[in-house]
Subunit: 321 residues, 6 copies
């Protein structure tokens, strides 16, 4: 079996095969009137233009824009940039192509850690919650939504905006919660629950196949209110869930953005709520700086200013000398 060639390795004249995400597909006419397909393909390593000159209508039916595709083709140079002339193409799904090496993680950016391992760590943390109501609440919500949780990004574009970014963000925060809850002598069960559920509405706010986008509920209601609905609806199914405790959980979710300008209808009004907000800010900002440094195209020790922080970030030379 031939090796899979990532876009960043394309060289003029190569015959390649591999899996890519088709982000644009247009049926066009050449000047001589023939049909062809004009594609933009992407994977974790880069982006390239593709053209299909032959069997155009056959191939046109095999895949849509937004699909992962399996491709055989040849690399040309057009206008000083590589371009892929596609010879064979088909929609790639895990069902059909896993045995040929297809993994969605090839075509979209993905969390570094293994989602299964992260899932296990999170469920272990849930298992340690002592308050039986909060433990049940978290367990049920996570269990019911496991499928989505395994691959969901944490946001469309701001931070942890990649496959399994949601799990990565939650796990990082949860680990902090179990340290910082006792540090500040708070109800750690409540802090941890707040962390686990604060963004849970994103499962319905964001539609995430390969490319994340907002759902209708996301646009009109928003993840803050949706998430608090989820917590509330589940708590109602748990017998004798204390009313005051639920109110606190709801408040933590509603206030976790911390500022009205960031669309929280309430600001944190007790310490557990404040801590969940502050942990969220910390983990998001650390991740945003991480990504800003990784994505930066500059060669020197500093990034340019086109990042969240609007300053040149110091990527460093070599640490402590």
């Amino acid at each position: 079996m031939k090796p899979i060639v990532p876009i960043s390795k394309f060289k003029e004249g190569d015959s390649i095969q591999g899996f890519y995400l088709c982000v644009e597909k247009h049926l066009r006419h050449t000047r001589s009137g023939d049909l062809y397909l004009d594609l933009i393909l992407r994977d974790r390593t880069g982006q390239v233009q593709g053209k299909i000159w032959e069997k155009v209508s056959d191939f046109n039916e095999k895949f849509s824009s937004g699909d992962a595709v399996a491709i055989k083709g040849e690399v040309d140079i057009f206008m000083d940039r590589p371009q892929l002339t596609v010879k064979r193409i088909n929609k790639a799904t895990v069902q059909n192509y896993a045995r040929y090496g297809f993994d969605p993680a090839l075509v979209v950016p993905t969390a570094n850690a293994d989602p299964n391992k992260m899932w296990k760590e999170i469920t272990t943390l849930i298992g340690k919650i002592k308050n039986p109501f909060l433990k049940k609440l978290c367990h049920q919500i996570y269990r019911v939504n496991k499928d989505k949780l395994m691959t969901h990004p944490a946001s469309v574009s701001m931070h942890h905006n990649y496959r399994s970014g949601f799990l990565e963000h939650i796990l990082s925060m949860a680990k902090m919660a179990v340290r910082l809850g006792p540090h500040y002598r708070l109800d750690t069960d409540l802090v941890l629950t707040g962390v686990l559920l604060h963004d849970i509405g994103k499962l319905h706010e964001i539609e995430s196949d390969y490319e994340a986008s907002f759902t209708k509920e996301g646009n009109l209601i928003g993840h803050i209110v949706i998430g608090r609905d989820m917590a509330r609806a589940t708590a109602k199914t748990i017998k004798k869930f204390p009313k005051n405790l639920l109110l606190k959980v709801e408040h933590i979710i509603l206030s976790h953005q911390g500022k009205y300008e960031w669309q929280s209808p309430k600001k944190p009004a007790f310490k557990e709520a404040l801590l969940v907000h502050l942990i969220d800010v910390m983990d998001s900002q650390m991740n945003i700086m991480d990504m800003a440094m990784e994505d930066d195209p500059e060669k020197g020790p500093f990034t340019n200013r086109h990042n969240y922080f609007r300053i040149p970030l110091f990527k460093g030379e070599n640490g402590t000398e």
Copy 2:
């Protein structure tokens, strides 16, 4: 039956009787060690200090701070200001004192219009909604909450913050809705429903006996989210309530403040939602200016700057000459 004397009419040496709101009550010792009750009393016309020197412990049990009270007493002058020496005092309720002329409207500021008349006008407008789902939704919510609706203020301190202010604000907005909906060729039923329900969460956000204050749910969840819950819960009891229509109603309630800084988690995303927000702004601002002019203590044609608008408002001389 002796006449009821409002505080603004108190004169030195008068023997008076009337109904007042007791806003502060403190049990104190005179220098000689005797107990006395130190009161602050208020009605629609002003405020006065009161003292009870006799039968202190008996009277002390008859009423609490926050109660409306029936009083007989005498007016002195102390430190150049009137003071009431209370001879008899009792808690005033509609049950016991209505026949003596007690009406809560005597002791707290109240909307000008009659609440019963406003209620009737609003229910007439609800009756004209053509969409059967929206009509049922509004009818049920208003019917169930009628008691509170009759006396609730529209806010704790900003606008229409007086007895039956809620009704007054909604009725004014509703009348505009039925004009402006067609003017902009919108779904007037939806605009009217939005107007009727946008602030409905205030019934649970604000606790309003004589003095309005925030409830626990008000502080931790807020009227925007509570109101949307009420609409949603009621809609779920109406058979085949269209999903998209409910989503629109929910969005109108969530976005009616119009700005994130004003605690709306969403900004209006379609025209009916935008219009509800704009009508709300218009009616609130007109009312705020109205009250700012009425409350102003200055004598000249202009108010001072200590108002919402931070400018001297022109109260006018006589119109058009």
Copy 3:
């Protein structure tokens, strides 16, 4: 007479004729040294490149950039996009080309309603003003400026920025004024006058042939102050115009933007002024959302975020299901 072909209907190989707005015109040399004219043409339906290869210097004298032009030509495809090879071209004016079907409304966006009808509605409303001074004031200003008023846009780029947009905006506001004035028990004559005159300075702030732009007075003085000058100068010609009334009209014009940041040197200081400002905000915002939805290129139920409101707007699916 051949039909007029709008740009959106251009197809390769067509011979067309029609009226377009020439928004750019450049005289250039081909590689072989020959002169040609490079044009950008626009109408209500779209935009296209044009070339004139023959009789270049003759045609060059017949029209300028900014003119409406009458064209005969042929549609080619260049770089996958239509391009018009112009065979004949001439400046189009209502005088010369009306009989061939020329109407400025063909080449620039225009209000939906008929300007003549709107004019009539507005003058009817002016006729109903009871205060003789205000009626005279409005009549005179509108009469003197009728020509401009018929076609002026309400702004260069924000709202109602199309032919006769000024009339459309004023008429919409005036209709609200006559409803809302009585609703708030205000001097409706004054509100209506405020509405009619608040933006009157735009007649001199904006130069509007086919494309609107700012005049020197517009840039250095601005429509707010210019408009107040117009009201003042006209009032001085009306015998015994009450001094206080004029002061109020001036204040309404100066304060109608409502906020200092929006270039109003004063904020509304009485209720008629506040209402004019609020009606203006309402009508502008409703129009801005209207246009944002119409101009949006997205296919789904939501617009993109590149609009005044910075959120995805819900264009809807089908109403209430």
Copy 4:
């Protein structure tokens, strides 16, 4: 003739006479029912309470709150603070009391420099304007308004808010204008004219007898627009005043606050306008810091933070050691 005693020199038991500003006057009853007059008196050096126990109704007619008064009386101590028992009192005007030493500058804060000297300096500067139109414009406006100009403050409360503060501010700015105009190679005549006229509307915005307050025109129109009217009206009386030049003068006045938030409807759009604005900012801020240091009650080297700059200002020890 006995000496005039300033309030800061009042000592218990003194018999004094002097001139003071009566800032409050109330007719009251003693506990025994007798009438007395309760006064607050102020001069450049401080403030004191006054009481009139005798011939109350006679004296009551001799002066009003807001008047300067001539007083004879005796100093007591009441509640640990000096209090003046007034024996004789009369309204003080320059006409009647100048020969006894009355000067308005005794009772209100006044510019350090002599207004006559400042006037002369300013007219000399006007005399040096080369452009005949601008020279005439400034001369006429200053000549017509000379009386007011001699005593007007530059603002109600911000900077140069004392008698003849207007002249002081303008003269300081004018001296800078004739230096900085050539420094930046600008039209110095225009800069100087801008400086002389930028705040001229304050003559009608502020009513200033002893205490400055806003006029009706000031509140509803504002000094920026009023000032530009004055320049415009005067220019219209000067034959062949160049249209463009007038436009520039108007723009300088309208834009001199520099920011929309500071109520300028325009921002400076050419260099002379920008410089007038910057000179104004410089002179105002220097004066505000000056006054903040002088008014500060703290003993140490730093003021408190309750000043325009919101920081502790360094009043210094002794300069350079």
Copy 5:
């Protein structure tokens, strides 16, 4: 030895002795002309007025405003409030009065934890820094400033503004640093150093005897720049301190406030700097909410809005029921 009576326990008629902070002292005359001393006294539990009627000039020399004082006296009631008639008074210092039970912690608010224990914990953490340069840097700065560090507050008024508040804040942050450094895979030595030194300039910015106030350097230079000077000056005394490493430490100190508006001349430009800032925000905000809840005078479950967060904070009823 008689017990020490805190101010909150004062009752009419008590003879008391104790240690208090004299926050105001004024020499005054009675109406009869005798001298007396008027005092305001404070301790951890409250505040009271004091009077010295006898041996006034003797006692006047024994202490100053700002001193801790040892007092014997008697409690009266004046105007319904307790007042202390002082019989004997002397300045209290640890040298002279420790054996009578004097401890500065009696008269000013103090951190809960023992400063000696906190000191030990911090030096232990310093001992674990692996980078020899950073370890030496921290050790030297802490050793040299030990005396001040033991009692310094962390700020004048915002957070940890009590005796030993600096140590408390630093220790809390340092414990987080050693957890969160590895959590984010950063240079933990650098994060810990940043935490230890970020506020070190406060030792010279704030003068703290019993009441904290700003020094001249504090007002004119500020703790951010002073602290960075201290780090720099000490590093220069350490042989071969790596230049780049010092630059990073300096940047962390300069950027730790995180925002320009909070007086940081730089924003965090690498991850260790960002984390120090975020830990600082977290610890400060948690402390501010803590104090806001403790200081709140309201009786119900919510505080009033007069706190840093401008919302009612939920002090809670009993947790989870």
Copy 6:
């Protein structure tokens, strides 16, 4: 010797020679696989693309991106724009090419005035400082840094961002300082010193060969703190430099930006500091408007809005008619 041809004079077919700044240089392959060099060249008059088709590897070693280069070549037209085919190219330095007419001022924008003359004027002003400590301080810092001072820009992109812009900005400010210091009766020596040193840190913040960029110290520490270090270090070498005086100089430097948002860690706290800030604002803004007008590409009397002031600037027609 052939004349030097500026880019703005390039015409098709010309053989030219001259000095240009190479701002981009890329080694590329033609479709046929041959190497060529793709250049972007700039001088004071414009920008042009350049190609080197021959002796590619030889020439490639002779210069780098960022160098000034001496070129012989021929002008073609490509895609309707001039393009330079380079025949000979070499790095241009003052050492080697001055005799052929090379001057860095040819290839980068440069102050109008002669740096040597400006230097002399500044040193004359320093010579007039009376305070011996301040005079020595300024002399030493200027003498040591003379080389950099002669060519440094005043900023990377905001104002005076051209060769010798630093000198130009300082000289303009210094001339104002000696006028305005006495005008406001301040310590003019201190104002002048503040002006001379306020931006001195820019010598180390900005790296300026032909194109200015930020240094590592610039990014991590910033010119404000660096400049104050320079003043401080130099003052320490001057015997008996008064401590308080140094503190003032340091404060002036730290506070000269005037606002926290502009990265000043302190705001001006005394009058000399305030005046230095205000002079800086004035000179920067005047320069920014100057450049905005010069750089504007519009033909009419107004610039477009894409400038610092966000308004159309009035470039004028002809002055006063």
